[in-house]
């Protein structure tokens, strides 16, 4: 066999060509709309001026990255971003899985459908509006503090004016808004578990709790790991819209994230280089984390996430 035929044999084209064909549309689209424009990342290293374009804008190397990393508050801002994003990731995962499991136990179809629909609805409320509601409800003179005062005699909690509480408020309100979305994925995963497993366990006299622990959870564990890993790519996206609308200078120390300050600088200078540099920075970190998670999943659970 000559080398070309050997290669073809290695790739098994004669057998797998339909698979390659099925991938062709996606591949072409991705090359055109994702890889081709990636050349634009070069502006992260330039002092990009729209009228001089990619080719002629002056090269500034790492300067744009220094704008992010050289500030006295850089570490603080990056840490806030990471803390908030990771908290959101972990707690929302737990919330979605738990809720899916609980909802799955419900037998009345109407109730189940109604609840499922209702919890998905907060996703549609924009942060602009929702933050207005939150600011109102969580105000020092607002409803929540009023209740805390009347029912439990607690002093007003500074939900939005204290750094730590701000983080908690941000995470909890985001989970409230999005957990309905995550639940759907896990409900679909639950639908994929073979019911005969449950029947067999029942005949062995297992309690529902045991069934959940030994059948259900392992059944959706792969999906949990996948969602977790994919979300890692977002670890430096802590939710610009939300934080921008809720933040006050009182909580900058614990609440200012990378994106809010990229936004402020962008408004000031109109420069796109800086935003691109920061985006690149976030992408690299996110990618590294995904790779690490992928490797770990393979090493410890023999599971290839993708």
């Amino acid at each position: 066999m000559n080398s070309q035929a050997k290669k073809a044999a290695r790739w098994n084209f004669s057998r797998t060509w339909p698979l390659h064909l099925l991938l062709l549309p996606a591949l072409l689209l991705v090359i055109l709309f994702n890889y081709l424009p990636m050349g634009g990342l070069v502006i992260a290293f330039q002092d990009y001026k729209p009228w001089t374009g990619f080719a002629n804008s002056p090269w500034v190397g790492w300067d744009n990255f220094r704008l992010l990393l050289d500030r006295p508050d850089s570490i603080q801002v990056i840490r806030n971003t990471a803390v908030i994003a990771i908290a959101k990731l972990l707690f929302s995962l737990v919330a979605s899985v738990l809720f899916a499991l609980l909802l799955n136990e419900v037998r009345q179809r109407l109730f189940k459908k109604a609840v499922q629909t209702i919890v998905y609805l907060p996703h549609f409320i924009s942060w602009v509006v929702l933050s207005g509601v939150l600011i109102d409800v969580l105000a020092v003179k607002g409803i929540v503090n009023g209740l805390l005062q009347d029912l439990f005699g607690i002093e007003p909690v500074l939900f939005l004016a204290n750094g730590d509480w701000f983080r908690i408020t941000v995470v909890v309100s985001d989970i409230w808004k999005e957990f309905g979305f995550g639940t759907i994925v896990f409900l679909a995963a639950l639908a994929g578990i073979n019911p005969s497993l449950y029947e067999a366990a029942e005949m062995d006299g297992a309690s529902r709790l045991k069934m959940t622990l030994h059948i259900t959870l392992p059944g959706i564990l792969p999906m949990i790991i996948v969602v977790f890993t994919l979300s890692l790519g977002n670890v430096l996206n802590a939710g610009f819209d939300q934080i921008y609308n809720l933040i006050t200078p009182l909580v900058y120390g614990k609440g200012d994230i990378i994106d809010t300050f990229v936004y402020r600088t962008g408004i000031l200078s109109g420069q796109m280089s800086f935003a691109t540099a920061v985006g690149l920075f976030k992408s690299v970190i996110g990618f590294v984390l995904i790779v690490v998670s992928y490797r770990l999943a393979y090493k410890f659970a023999r599971y290839t996430i993708f």
Partner: protein
């Protein structure tokens, strides 16, 4: 019968109450926003609306619906949502199917998959994207809103995992009957993956329905704006110093009610469609049926 067990029964009712409370917590803010949308701007701006409209008026809705582009923008959005979801899901299913094959069977799959995953994170940004759309003469066309989003790697990976979890016997049985990969996808995998397809379709639809930024950048005529873009354009920006000092102008900055009305306008179609999709979240009946 585990559900005859007493402790399970207690848990069951406790669970039902808990779920109802959670649902209530989700619904209350929506009720408030609904009330604001039907209240007078005076009441809304004074922050006195709670869970029922004050000075009932449909002004906020009329302002949005009276916009002469409203009907056109709905059509644009419907087109984009249907096409985007149908074609997008087709691409997702086809790609996920191929990628779900193990590496020893489908050489090169790992390369493909990392190729796709990389694009989830790295992007050239707005400028090269814009230039590309421009050079391809796609400005102001529906395709500018569709093409960049057809490949959704997140969906692809979820789908891929779903396929991996299906029993190998299904495929092997079909292969033994002489079917090729394509046939197996069409006749065997596709029908079974309805829960997954339903889920991902829902996400894709909602994504298209709510996407407003690309419309703002790529659609040059206001009558080509998708609904979400139109709604966004009626909201007054935060910096109201840019409003002209004209009393007729100022009085129109009552946008609390308008913003609230918009949420419901974009919400209702999804709420209408959702129950139809929910029926596909069925327990693995279909899988169980295929037992040799």
């Amino acid at each position: 019968m585990f559900y005859k067990n007493k402790s399970y029964r207690t848990f069951y009712w406790f669970n039902a109450v808990l779920l109802a409370v959670i649902a209530l917590v989700c619904v209350l803010p929506l009720v408030h926003i609904w009330a604001v949308s039907f209240s007078s701007s005076a009441a809304a701006n004074a922050n006195i609306v709670t869970l029922w409209p004050i000075d009932f008026t449909t002004d906020a809705y009329l302002k949005t619906l009276a916009n002469s582009n409203f009907g056109k923008s709905i059509i644009v959005t419907v087109q984009r949502t249907l096409l985007g979801t149908a074609i997008g899901m087709a691409i997702t299913v086809a790609s996920a199917y191929s990628l779900s094959k193990p590496a020893n069977e489908f050489k090169g799959r790992t390369l493909y998959v990392w190729l796709f995953v990389f694009t989830m994170l790295f992007s050239g940004g707005l400028i090269p994207g814009y230039i590309l759309i421009q050079k391809l003469h796609l400005m102001n066309t529906l395709w500018a809103l569709l093409l960049p989003g057809f490949v959704n790697v997140w969906n692809m990976i979820l789908m891929l995992n779903f396929y991996r979890a299906l029993p190998k016997e299904l495929e092997e049985a079909a292969f033994m009957d002489g079917a090729g990969y394509m046939r197996v996808l069409w006749s065997v995998y596709l029908p079974i993956s309805l829960p997954a397809i339903a889920t991902l379709s829902l996400f894709t639809m909602v994504g298209h329905w709510n996407a407003w930024f690309d419309g703002l950048i790529y659609m040059t005529q206001s009558e080509r704006w998708p609904l979400a873009t139109l709604l966004q354009s009626i909201i007054v920006g935060a910096d109201f110093t840019r409003i002209s000092l004209n009393p007729t102008d100022l009085v129109n900055i009552s946008e609390r009610t308008v913003k609230a009305a918009q949420i419901f306008i974009s919400l209702l179609p999804i709420v209408a469609v959702y129950p139809f999709i929910q029926r596909y979240f069925v327990n693995g009946i279909v899988i169980g049926a295929i037992k040799e």
